[in-house]
Amino acid sequence: MEQTTLSPFQMFCVITCFIVGTTFIMLPNATIADAKQFGWLVHLWSAVFGVLIGSVWIYISGKHPGLSLVQIFSKVFGKYAGGFISVCYIIFFLQIAAWVTRNVSDYMHVTMMPRTPPTVFHLMTLVVCAYAAVKGIRSISLVSIFIVPYIFISFWIPYTIMLNEWDWRNFNIPADFHFWHAVSETKYALGFPFLETIACMMIFPLVRVKLKTAVLGGTAFAGFQIALSVFFAIGILGVYRSSHLLYPEYTIFREMEFSSFMEHLESIISINMLLVVFVKLSSIYYFAVTAICQVFSIRSRAVVAIPLIWVISAYSLLFSNISENAKWIHDNLFIYYVPFGVGFPVLLLVFTWFRKERGERTT
């Protein structure tokens, strides 16, 4: 593990980037299609869920001070069982990395560069993020510090400009709203991105003060941002249109006109947004690399990071198109994420309590 500490603000920014990451490109279409004009509410309760589950993780991390996620596993479950679970998590991290990579190339392919082969985007993105992962979480988090405000501005300015297209009628279309039905329909929004955040437990021990504020604040802030952006998408584009478009947010950028001479700034704005995705991918890449280093006691991150480029870029070709990916997200993603985000942590908690009790009894 890197010998460094992260300030709460750095942690806050990493968490924010991690959650906003690909969510804002992937989810608005799905949640609006599933929950109609209440799509933005989905993201709000998901954020609440994220905060709740985040406090559980922080609690666990607090029970094992100074240890990262995989180190906690090997401490609690022993070398072999713990090692096995850690390997599961490593694969989980690599999968997330592969999906994020895939999302980037899909997004670029549909919105900007239809003729460039996806592998080029994969390799380019992964090389960049591998470099960041080798440089370490300190560099990644420092970069996220100014990416967060920068993106905040470059994201909300176009949205604010588009407010003149706002139409309240869009919230008034006939739709039945049943809370539990909506929750079960959109359960993937709980998992993606809020269960993925468990990966950040790899760097919890690096934050010495105010870990709780940073992590939970970041989760809430990012969740709120996503909800707000979906709210705007509904108000500006309407439920009908946004649920039929693959990337509603991109369409908003596209239809924004700064003035009559600067009409089409969509490429620069949406490329800017990729910076956030880069931070997310670099962090998850870093988590995977450090987890491998910790489990197999490897010193140099570079030795692990470089071969992973090929692994991840190959894995990212798993889905042959976006629809398969979207279907998988809709049907299986939440179930798949539950053991990693909830299952193992709860097991960990139970074991920790159990051990402690036994320890108390023996003394």
Binding site: M112, M124, V303
Partner: protein
């Protein structure tokens, strides 16, 4: 190690790079597209392409044709693009499109398929003005325009100017407004373009003619779209009232009579408020300020006279609104969008609408007492 691999990767990228590169001088910059689907189901697309050397900033005055129109036809929309390859030496580039022209028969057949096609690819845009043409689209698109020599740009500026006159930024007359209007019961209105004069003005000699309106394009009336399908036409008066009563316009010129004499005013600061008096009665209240443009009354402008004018306007405009409503009911078009409100859903025809006009004359101009 890392550096070596990075360098090798970069070199690999270099060796094969530049897939999406397109040079500016290999682009056929499309300015306006006209689409028509004939009765045999063939799609005709007319692409108006800029001729860059003749519209360069340094050159002024009419020199050469600013645009060329290419006509391609195909049995499916998706292959129109491919067909252009047979007539054009450059890559069709539609990102800078200013305007779509749709023939009336195509519009009546429905635009949803076309919109689906347009929104599918990043270079095709739907946030551009769309107009419906009563005349054959080939005539409209083969017309050289004056002042702004690029016809698409000319139409766009015309529409922008039109919108500015209503005090709004953009009129909801773009392709995307049709899609956004699909789930609603209120129709969307697109402007109709008319071509005046016989024979199309397709030769740039026309630019030398002083009579500008002899052969030119004119925006007149509107085409009503419900569920992306054109269902009928309205005149300018109805179209403008539609913009006012639905809260788009914030100003508009009006004419009314006071004691038999004509008064032209401009109403500004229009605010529309809808309140439900009961389950079945909707009250629409309009508040506005007035400014005199032309006053033909032969009497001094007194407070009493001003009051009369306000009264007269309120009455006249209320009548106009009621006419608008009866037109809407008669045509079975929910022009006020009552069906999109919670109370009026699916039964807008049963709702009784009451209009209430409140106006205030603020600007009287320089001539307080008219010359007699």
């Amino acid at each position: 190690m890392i550096k070596k691999i990075t360098i090798i990767l970069l070199l690999l990228v270099l060796c094969s790079g530049c897939w999406d590169m397109k040079e500016i001088n290999q682009l056929a910059i499309v300015d306006m597209i006209a689409v028509d689907r004939d009765d045999d189901g063939m799609f005709h697309a007319y692409y108006q392409i800029l001729n860059p050397p003749s519209i360069e900033a340094r050159r002024s005055g009419p020199s050469k044709a600013a645009v060329y129109t290419f006509d391609v036809k195909s049995t499916t929309m998706g292959r129109l693009m491919e067909q252009t390859g047979t007539v054009m030496s450059r890559n069709l580039y539609t990102s800078h499109l200013q305007c779509y022209v749709i023939s009336e028969r195509t519009a009546r057949a429905g635009l949803l398929r076309m919109i689906n096609y347009l929104e599918n690819y990043k270079e095709r845009r739907t946030n551009v003005y769309t107009i419906v043409s009563e005349d054959p689209v080939s005539e409209v698109i083969s017309t050289f325009t004056l002042l702004d020599r690029v016809p698409g740009r000319n139409i766009r500026l015309l529409m922008d100017w039109h919108a500015r006159k209503f005090g709004i930024n953009k009129l909801p007359t773009r392709m995307k407004d049709i899609v956004e209007g699909v789930p609603f019961s209120r129709p969307t209105i697109l402007p109709i373009v008319q071509y005046s004069g016989g024979g199309s003005a397709s030769v740039s000699d026309r630019l030398e003619d002083i009579n500008a309106t002899k052969q030119s394009l004119k925006i007149n009336g509107g085409a009503v779209f419900i569920k992306a399908k054109m269902v009928g036409k309205v005149n300018d008066e109805i179209k403008n009232t539609y913009y006012v009563l639905n809260g788009y316009a914030s100003r508009k010129p009006e004419t009314f009579k006071v004691k038999g004499e004509t008064v032209d005013i401009e109403i500004t600061g229009i605010r529309i408020k809808r309140t439900w008096e009961s389950k079945d009665v909707l009250r629409i209240r309009m508040d506005a300020h007035m400014g005199i443009i032309n006053n033909e009354q032969r009497q001094k402008l007194t407070v009493q006279n001003i009051g009369e004018m306000e009264q007269a306007f309120n009455r006249t405009y209320k009548e106009k609104c009621e006419e608008f409503l009866s037109f809407s009911v008669q045509k079975n078009w929910d022009m006020l969008g009552i069906g999109d409100m919670k109370q009026g859903r699916n039964r807008w025809r049963d709702i009784r609408v009451k209009f209430e006009i409140h106006s205030k004359l603020n600007h009287i101009g320089n001539t307080i007492t008219p010359y007699e």
